[in-house]
Symmetry: D2
């Protein structure tokens, strides 16, 4: 058993709360939020105790799950590290890489375990893809193809504070790419534009992008992202290797097919990213609990957080330059 | 809000308990079991109170969910009816149709709503199939095909008290068939055998069967059932109509495909019936709660329970006779 | 090389002619038809010589492909047998089993090889299914499921001379069933009706049927047939065995999918049975040529022709009796 | 009817010959080859007359199909143009763009119709994709994804004269991209390497490449190519548009699926590119014949040939530069 406090009882905090309640090796002890009523509601429903934020850092608990607003993450990460707590932090640590680095250095100095919410890794099909690749079933990766297409353009107000499409959306796939291939990109090229909505360009962002990457081992990789499909959430990953190809496929939300005329009409994709990746929140928490018990080290730690952020930074630089950018890794 | 008591805290009671806890319009009040420790464990976990069985029937609650052992169902149904409670009863009401009829008549006299646990109706894909048929997208049903194949032979000890393959397994599809087509069978023919395991024949049961039915409207229907596949749980339903065909397809448990050599190897089906139909328990409870609020009458009520049981009786008779049996409906 | 004469230059003769021309081990020598102009047209196009029917039986050739009208088959089979020619005969040998038996006995007395046009056996996917079963990949067959649904009701004038749905359509699947499982049915039950078109009942035929069969080994089998789908030609076969299940799937006619709204719209099935099974005509001819060279004996010979016809007779008897019929085999 | 001469009776000539024979509006008159025996063999089989190459250009025929060795194409194109014949030329016109341009200018001066063998356009599924896009079903294209993966590394001797992966393989998809979207690329970036076989690097070529393109309209496009998969021929195209997404899917070579253990094993892809695209040769010829009758202008003409070649040149330049290259179009 590990005792957890939840910091943040908004949308994403309410996603984590039932998982903290359900997990057989988690003791869901405390919950805090700047809005104390929200904290009390979560506490009552899931048998935890509402607390102040200060109480959480002082409490005798094992881990803190940081699900507060993004601009507070780095600060809370540092406080949790100082308090010697294990940290599960929603992404990003901070939109500024320098600030994120600072916080992560604090974590590393404190020697506490930290996991970042790159929970797409815990999608069952993506994880099976990783397993197949690691077992050598595909041989050395030669080409990786990733598609990440959100269903609907988020509100402009969200986009303005999101960190931009690269750091908000594409970054998940930079992490997946490194994790799946156990490799890092050394060269990156990006084409991007505001094709879905010209308003996006006015706030200095893009909504459609394609990325080409050369990995240190020579593997070539492609990613395409868009902010809105109109047909649901569309995500797929494919690894083409020297000895085979594996695909974590698009997923239908239901399994009905109707044959009429000369067509077969089947159910489409999940309504949005949330329906698609919902099970990954529990699976991610479970991995973190396993890590706290020393049973796994396959989870996105603070190094992975920083790695993905550096790639996103380079990708954004490449986009703006209109030319490839090289990356060097220590 | 409707207040519920749970009667039975064994395997299936523990499937229902978190759903009673999670449902926003359910107040999970009491839980009882002949093993009081099991009741206390469920009570503690889900914020209910452990009670005796007598207390449950006396309590000021709206509904009782009967999840006790099958041989107690009819008795508890009658007590719940006498107490004027709404009833959600796991199937069967009783393995003996005469006894089940008696209990159901008590329910009807009492005028309380009752739902039987034919929850495959609440599978999202099956429900979408029903919706397509009812909207007229397929025209009049001409052929229905149903496949129900369990993954692994249950233990003989279970089979002995299961009521037999027809009443334990096939009965779900007799209900589905009537519900999907809004029709009843008037003629039924069965071939069956113990093909998977000769031990099954020794206890007077079968493990493999195929059924042909003619419905009152003229629709023809087929069902095949087996107790063990060795490749996971395999369920599909197809309605062929005058204007189109719809299929609630087999479902993979994950979405990985690997291409090697000249083959594509994909993830197979769910490990067992439970993984496949798990979401139907919540959906079934939700339908019952809607029914209690007068929002739907599309749920398997006591009449459906009796109807399916009469079909299973006739099917068993046809199997033993080696000839078709006709059914008459009031 | 084997020299062939083609007897019949109508629709089906024109299907065979280019295959006779293309096959590298066939010398397409002669073609005859009661309409001599049709024979000349085929002859000119494919480098053969137009002949009279009598000339064909007298000619120094190896094999005769009988593609004339059905009511002439038995007579021509007997003449070909008398002339010592190998015989490829479109089905049926004769709609009357007694007459077919007579012709087949003549073939057997003459000792000439004969193949009947049950060419669905040569569908690549069905053949792969047979291969998998024979290699033991599925274990002993426990359930076989077959679906055969034609796209559009044939004209009544055709239906009147077709021999009826059982002998015209279902018979192909009686042959497939025996061939796939290397087994014969010992009990058969049928439900059938004119559900697609009431006119069909007026000519004493049916257009929709479901069949249940028990095979000598104990395997249970199901078949459903209809004369019209409205959505193209729909054929599938599934063998469920003790160690696995294999399916020769429905086949799309093209491979386009469009995702819009919450649906995926894919191309449906082949427009008609002909588009679906067209490649089997060449493959069937090729098997016959191999047989003539002593390279295979896996083809539908005269015994298979008679076997399928006896099953269709029994099935029709079962349909009319409204009760199962047993079959005995020598 | 249009009369055709075939120039070249090698592998690809023998692919075209039966189509020339089969097409109802083609009169297959003459065939020539530097190896006169090969010409005689084709002539005899398909009812044409063997001729010398000079005779072909002098003959009273409508069209010449140039299927000779690549280095002779430009010369024969010019001779055919000078003779006023319609031209169907296998790609490339010439590996040198300047030489190809010269030949094409001769064609344009002569005013004769010319089609280049970019026959993947005539794949039924790709053509249906084009149709859906042109009918506006997808809205404006925002992202195009193309995958072209050959099954097995060709012999080095072939690679040396192939023109390189970009001009031999990728070029087909540059044509498809422009045709599908009715657009041209204005910016192109390439990463490529010899990942499959280091020998390929020694002859100055690559075997694996990924391409990013920005089209004039703003559409972004990706292509990945490899010379060997080990699992058959793998080709797919996807257009993501403002109102929907359409995919011309990977194609299985057969339709068998086996469920065993927890896996479904299905038939993989076509053995090689030839099995996959074989039907496009007839369909391409048919389009050309339609064009000769003024019934269509949707075929890859000499302008398309030059356009694809210019893109391939730019892509190769981008690969060598390690930076994006811009293209300008008149």
């Amino acid at each position: 058993m590990r005792s957890f406090a939840l910091l943040g009882a908004g949308f994403i905090g309410n996603v984590h709360a039932p998982n903290l309640f359900d997990h057989p090796r988690v003791d869901f002890t405390l919950v805090a939020d700047t809005d104390s009523q929200r904290a009390r509601d979560v506490a009552e429903r899931y048998g935890a105790r509402a607390a102040t934020i200060d109480e959480i850092f002082a409490a005798d608990i094992d881990a803190i799950l940081i699900a507060s607003s993004s601009d507070t993450h780095a600060h809370y990460v540092e406080r949790a590290a100082a308090a010697g707590k294990a940290i599960f932090c929603e992404k990003p640590v901070d939109l500024e890489t320098s600030r994120a680095t600072q916080a992560i250095e604090a974590v590393q100095r404190a020697g506490v375990p930290m996991m970042i919410g790159f929970n797409r890794r815990f999608d069952a099909s993506h994880a099976a893809l990783a397993g197949a690749y690691r077992r050598g079933e595909l041989g050395r990766a030669e080409i990786v193809q990733m598609t990440c297409r959100s269903q609907a353009m988020p509100p402009l107000d969200y986009l303005k504070v999101s960190g931009g499409q690269m750091h908000d959306q594409a970054i998940h796939f930079f992490d997946l790419l490194c994790w799946l291939t156990d490799d890092v990109p050394v060269e990156i090229h990006v084409l991007g534009d505001a094709l879905s909505d010209p308003q996006v360009a006015k706030i200095g962002d893009i909504d459609t992008l394609i990325v080409s990457l050369r990995m240190a081992s020579g593997t070539l990789a492609q990613l395409d992202c868009t902010r809105r499909t109109g047909y649901g959430y569309d995500e797929r990953i494919e690894i083409f290797g020297a000895e085979g190809m594996a695909e974590s496929r698009r997923q239908p939300y239901r399994h009905l097919t109707i044959a009429k005329g000369n067509q077969c009409v089947s159910d489409g994709f999940h309504e949005s990213w949330f329906e698609r990746i919902k099970p990954t929140f529990y699976a991610g928490l479970d991995a973190f609990v396993q890590a706290l018990h020393g049973e796994t080290d396959d989870y996105p730690d603070e190094t992975a957080a920083l790695r993905a952020q550096r790639i996103a930074d380079a990708a954004l630089h490449a986009l703006k330059r209109g030319a490839p950018v090289t990356l060097e890794w220590p």
